[in-house]
């Protein structure tokens, strides 16, 4: 197992008396894949959103690549290494190409340097035939593939994917699983919130089962804190 890339200690979040998250420590190793399982409301999506800096939680300490990080004041440099993809991805108005190169443009890259990367991501996700289709006319599966291409083109070190195969038909689900499997094999750290058995059973997938905001089992065994 590779060294830890992200270590978060003491993640707590609650609404009134209702506990949403209570994770004493979460350690993600570089290049490993993790699937968060558990019933609806167990805290999977909230944990991903906290790690992505999209939702606030009390965190005792966080280290990324050995460097201390304040998740409450999320640093821009961490955003460049860690990408979150929604369960129902949002595509901006404009073209599919514009969507996929959005993050590259945000990083200040010029068209000549990002165009080959975008073309490669389009080919990888198999969305070449969709380039002339307005984003709002894409199906859920097509949107998911565009969103995965949009995330992958940025070459982040950590992917956070929230229910990437939920509500997809059989064909779209298989296409999404193939892309996710590719990401897991590409020596990236991938964390998914998911109920999909086929994803859970992917090779080298670590399973973290959550319940009532806590990680209850790790690869079927008790969690060592």
């Amino acid at each position: 197992m590779s060294g830890p890339i992200l270590v978060v200690e003491g993640i707590h979040k609650s609404y009134g008396t209702r506990r949403i998250l209570d994770v004493p420590v979460l350690t993600l190793a570089a290049g490993e894949s993790y699937v968060l399982t558990g019933e609806n409301g167990s805290g999977k999506s909230t944990l991903l959103r906290v790690l992505a800096g999209l939702e606030h939680a009390e965190v005792v300490a966080c280290r990324y690549d050995g460097r201390p990080v304040d998740l409450g004041n999320y640093p821009d440099w961490l955003r460049r290494d860690l990408i979150y993809v929604h369960q129902h991805p949002y595509l901006f108005r404009g073209s599919i190409f514009d969507n996929i190169c959005y993050g590259l443009r945000a990083r200040g890259l010029i068209k000549a340097s990002y165009e080959p990367l975008v073309r490669e991501a389009i080919a990888w996700a198999g969305v070449g035939a969709l380039l002339d289709v307005p984003p709002h006319k894409l199906s859920g599966g097509e949107k998911q593939r565009v969103a995965l291409a949009r995330a992958r083109v940025l070459q982040p070190r950590i992917f956070l994917l929230d229910e990437p195969t939920a509500n997809l038909d059989a064909e779209a689900r298989q296409q999404a699983i193939k892309l996710i499997s590719d990401l897991c094999d590409a020596n990236r750290t991938v964390v998914l919130a998911c109920h999909d058995r086929e994803i859970i059973e992917l090779p080298r997938m670590n399973r973290l089962n959550m319940g009532r905001g806590a990680i209850e089992t790790w690869n079927g065994g008790a969690v060592c804190v």
Partner: protein, 231 residues
Amino acid sequence: MDWLATTREAFALLFSGDADLWQVILISLRVSLLAMLIATPPAIAFGYLLATASFPGRRLIVVTTQGLLASPTVVVGLILYLLLSRQGIFGSLKLLFTQEAMIIGQVLIALPVLVAFTISAVQGADPRARETAVSLGASRMRSTWTTLLEVRFGVMAAVFNAFGRIVSEVGCSLMVGGNIAGVTRNIPTAIALETSKGEFAQGIALGFVLLLVALGVNFALAFAQGEGGMK
């Protein structure tokens, strides 16, 4: 009064290139467009801030802004008149009865419309738009711009509504502009004056232009909205 003859005379005035009439139209458009140019950027930025940020007094500001939507333009004109008159705080600037005073007045009238509509547009935005932009590494400025682009039809509605309100307001322009021919006489104040003199032809011609501007603005919005509008 022969309505048909008067209307025919009005269109003759309009299309014969009557210099006085077209001067009134140009002054009206110049004042209102400049007021929009000045008011729009800060109002949209402030509206975005009020829609997305949380700070003490925010609710009070939002409610006050919404309340100001219905403020009578003549009251805005009265307050501005008192401020700009010789005894007023800004009397030394000698702005009363100038186009600048009319622009200031129209900026004040446009601001609440722009802010309130922008708040509504941004609050109606899909929260995933900003989250996606942020997650893809967009700076605060870029994610703000992206969100505004996603709700651009709502923001455009704000701009067109504000323009429609100021280009047709008479109270403030009359109070602080003084309706001086060739200087501060715009379409609404000219209509009021010509009608009071019994010169209905010019009033109708100017009214027709005002109606065209208002309709043009609405058509522009509907076309811009595409499927949500004219298509």
